[in-house]
Symmetry: C2
Subunit: 140 residues, 2 copies
DNA sequence: CTTGACACTTACGTAAGGGTAAGGTATACT
DNA sequence: AGTATACCTTACCCTTACGTAAGTGTCAAG
């Protein structure tokens, strides 16, 4: 079947382990789109995109899996609401949806900018230290 | 006694909890410089600096406490070697020490720069998304 | 139809603490 | 010296996010 990946392929492409994927399924964070009768999990490309999103939120923003689950569920709810609204568009509810989405995006931006700032400060200190060491080596 | 802090003060100044500090002591990562007969821990300013270093390595570089412990112990060993070498300075051993220190600093720099790159990419995407949402709101 | 690679479940282990209980200690006030 | 009370101690169980066996099942190829 085209485009369906077994767990080993997903491991290879994402860097996650079997155990992590099982765990994500246990907590309902990432349920594979297809499950064979034998129990085998099959993942779609969309599942992979969801994993990338999860990893971003976890590794780069440092969110917990519980928070990530909440965010992804909110985004899903919003997406399906937007689809519904397209058939029956209420300008106010659409505005409210946009505002909620913007608030989430801005929260995440603030978070990442704060982390970036700290990390740049550390980078500077480390770079200075390395330069000092290089100078000391040259002088020796 | 001047300059000695009780655990509550350290909690206040570092943001760590009592429990975390006890845990760091359990695993030998941060042993308070003074311990009274009653069991009470007293921390020095140098202990605080060590905590700052620990937090940097943990939060900004994402290292495990075990790795951090290893790094700090290596740095300490190096520092005392440098002191010893000052009394009996062998140019070669001094060079070797400097080179080892430089290698560590460069490893850390590479790590942080890789993370910075990913984070800037995510920042860009998030900023674009937020802008798109703001435009959509304005147009609504 | 067996074999080897991969997959599955079950279940206990680990890291890094959080929360709370039950009680000890340091200091300040009387 | 007695006591209040604020802070401290140890100790134990809970949680998150997996790691690590151990044993069993499945699937595609030969």
């Amino acid at each position: 079947m085209a485009g369906l990946l077994r767990i080993g392929d997903v491991v290879e492409r994402t860097g996650l382990t079997h155990r992590a994927l099982h765990y994500y399924e246990e907590i309902g964070l990432l349920v594979p789109s297809v499950k064979l009768d034998g129990g085998m999990r099959l993942y779609t490309e969309e599942d992979l995109r969801r994993i990338d999103r999860i990893l971003e939120l976890r590794e780069l923003l440092g969110l917990s899996l519980k928070e990530i689950k909440r965010i992804l569920e909110a985004e899903e709810a919003r997406a399906s609401l937007l689809l519904a609204a397209r058939r029956e568009p209420t300008p106010e509810s659409r505005r409210a949806d946009l505002e909620k989405a913007l608030a989430i995006a801005e929260d995440q931006l603030a978070l990442i900018r704060a982390r970036l700032k700290e990390m740049r400060a550390l980078e500077g200190r480390l770079a200075d230290e390395a330069q000092g060491l290089r100078d000391a080596l040259k002088a020796s």
